[in-house]
Point group: C2
Chain length 452, copies 2
């Protein structure tokens, strides 16, 4: 089983760490520390004080404009007028729960299910990705009768007790569930997969190993919980089809696959509406969240009927805010906008264009070890040397801080925090690539000068 | 330890149970069953198809008006213009997370903390009451080093794995946490409290018994998690000061008290802004949810700094949607409206007026065993006879169905489902009492005629 590290807070700071700030920033950070406590971290040594957003951009209190290359929640763009209008109109009409009949939640359920494989024929609504994954684990256990869930070694699946215990990214101060087992992600850049034939076969073999280990240890196997782009692990989108062998292994061993689509879902990967779609596989349970309502707290869990019923015919579940008409109005507007503005196609083409620029940049910088991704989910791996592939952790941090000073907001991922995670809103266009590339190039030059 | 029953779904139905419905209702219920699955239950044998809300009222698709005497989420009234305006404006400006600086979350945190005792000096934001209680249990355990939580026997605290395991109301198909222990609620109507001097002393003795039992069983005590109006247990608001002895017992034994204010919070009990406020006690952790954002999914957990730090200095916690500017705008508008429209005072006076009418009605109906409550939280207990106090469960169900047919929406609570839970929006006024009383009287007459 791979060892664990803590990457969740690599690029976030407690207020007390922020010095040399302007007066307003210092006052706000001190107030945060006092009122909100130690859990509240900030991005950047010099935090950004945002006041306005539109499309792919954010503005701070001084009127400075930023290019947002990190926030996937405002999926269709910050303050999208269609979402604003839908929410405002529904707020003024009715907001209530699902123990009364309301038409829009059903129309949306039907529409959303039409984007999923036919086998996934039921959907429930919650408010956060954490709630969706918490329920998904319970459903997987109820259906299989097992408890053991396999996770990738830097996965993050939520902040509840159950999902935190299935989030190795939180580090060693958060104990893992006793039945959870870790596998390395399908890291085509570093894994020694040649003997297995493909990264996908290599990954499937790792999953089989953990299933075997569970069996030996008397832990009944429940399933595999994965983010199909392995976002926290370092962005491993892989070749289409890569995940098929692992899905087969899970199913052959009587488990279920939970696809955590909180990160890759809603057209982000370009080739498909869902992240798993690139691999021609059918999960048993699909969870979704962040981009679903463009900031409105809504999440969902889709499942095969027979899988869901093992739980829902037995244990009562009600989510007060889940599926309320206002959240549904936001989610429907997001879905309509993705289609109406052809954002999946844009993610595909603009993402490819961005990676072509990044690959060209690698000719100039030896520290760029790998460029990978799908659609608008790109990982740029920085290394001290291409031969040793040693992670350039400090450099990566300097680079994102440098980009922030040049108005481009992004962050890092992976166990060493050396992988730039470029994950803009779907409003990001070809014309935005120049600003991103300039800021990255300048930040790299500066960082390499100061850190020889 | 008291036995458990399932009250959560007393007045809710799966679609398949709905027959003799009009065409649209039948179509919608069938669609729900197919798309959303078995967890989705409906209020009433003849479900209400709501399309609009304003103030204390809802309207169905046929234009029929209903008096809402059950929904505490739209606390300041359905579609309150101040909330609609605040959300619409913020949506059009910016929605983002708390890893950037934003002023409004801090202004709201300060404002909200000013309504709490000074010892509770930090607040964190989540999206649902379940998330708040899930975190609160983890914080209580981290601070005390214990695991054992004491709960009332019909309590409901949430839908995550951890909170479900602390929600005996979910029934025996949901296992309780192995360290959880149950006590009967401070039921002044039924409990045999005379020997203890007061209901409060009686309740404190029950808590002490369970702490002692934990000690004998080697379960380290963590704390008491209670809803200060014991809503699911049957609405036991009690005399002011009632909860003080139990708080003393918990603190003397090294535990913490988590006040689950999801139901009684935000001015509902009239005498105080928070439910525990009537009892002159200071909890260590306070959770809040439902009415906080008038339907916008927002929740919070306030705590004493030293209690919170035991968790938050150690375990990473981040909630993507928690404390976002749009949810905060809704919550600030709710707080401003409660003050601006003096809704706490209205809850106090109108609630008292309602209970005076209900007490007068008890002269006419022997089946009314008890009328109790505080502010706009009223329990009306129906019994087959005042001497035996036997719960009139079937009668209570008939009555709420009868009231629904007369346009008044409410439901039941308690282990036998015989207690009408009258919990209107805070927009409910004196002028609404007549409709409520007429529908209740007529429904009682009819139910008693058909069920002699």
């Amino acid at each position: 089983m791979p060892t664990r590290s803590t990457i969740m807070d690599t690029n976030s700071f407690r207020a007390e760490h922020a010095d040399a700030l302007d007066d307003v920033t210092r006052e706000l950070t001190a107030k945060r520390e006092a009122l909100l406590g130690a859990s509240y971290r900030l991005f950047y040594r010099n935090p950004v004080h945002v006041v306005r957003g539109q499309g792919a951009y954010l503005w701070d209190a001084s009127g400075r404009k930023y290019l947002d290359v990190y926030n996937n929640v405002p999926s269709v763009g910050h303050a999208h007028p269609a979402v604003v209008a839908a929410v405002s109109a529904q707020m003024a009409t009715l907001n209530t729960h699902t123990r009364y009949l309301h038409g829009s939640v059903l129309a949306y359920a039907e529409d959303l299910l039409s984007t999923l494989p036919g086998e996934l024929d039921q959907i429930m609504f919650m408010c956060t990705g954490s709630e969706a994954n918490d329920l998904a684990i319970r459903v997987a256990r109820a259906y299989t009768g097992g408890t053991g869930i396999i996770l990738t070694s830097e996965a993050y699946h939520g902040n509840t007790e159950l999902t935190s215990a299935h989030s190795p990214a939180l580090g060693s101060s958060q104990p893992l569930d006793p039945a959870a087992r870790l596998v390395s992600p399908p890291d085509g850049y570093r894994a020694d997969w040649a003997a297995d034939g493909s990264v996908g076969q290599w990954f499937a073999a790792r999953v089989q190993e953990q299933i075997d280990a569970m069996r030996e240890q008397g832990v009944p196997f429940a399933g595999l919980l994965i983010d199909s782009v392995f976002s926290s692990d370092g962005v491993f989108t892989g070749e289409p089809g890569m995940l098929a062998p692992a899905f087969d292994v899970v199913h052959r061993n009587g488990g279920v696959v939970i696809a955590d689509e909180v990160q890759p879902g809603f057209a982000r990967t370009g080739d498909a509406f869902w992240g798993f779609g690139r691999h021609g596989v059918v999960p048993d349970i699909v969870t979704m969240g962040k981009p679903m309502g463009a900031g409105m707290p809504i999440s969902g869990m889709a499942a095969k009927r027979e899988v869901l019923e093992a739980f829902s015919l037995k244990v009562p579940y009600f989510n007060t805010f889940g599926g309320n008409p206002v959240s549904i109005a936001a989610a429907q507007a997001v879905l309509d906008t993705i289609r109406g503005e052809a954002l999946q196609e844009r993610a595909r083409t603009v993402g490819a264009e961005l990676r072509a620029s990044l690959t060209a940049l690698a000719d100039r910088f030896d520290v760029i070890g790998d460029v990978r991704g799908a659609g608008q989910f790109t990982g740029l791996e920085l290394v001290t040397s291409r031969s040793t592939k040693q992670p350039a952790t400090a450099l990566a941090l300097d680079v994102i801080e440098g980009m922030r000073e040049r108005g481009v907001l992004t962050s890092v991922a992976g166990p060493s925090g050396n992988i730039l995670k470029l994950r803009p809103t779907l409003a990001f266009q070809s014309g935005d690539i120049d600003w991103l590339m300039e800021s990255l190039t300048d930040a790299l030059v500066q960082a390499l000068e100061t850190r020889p």
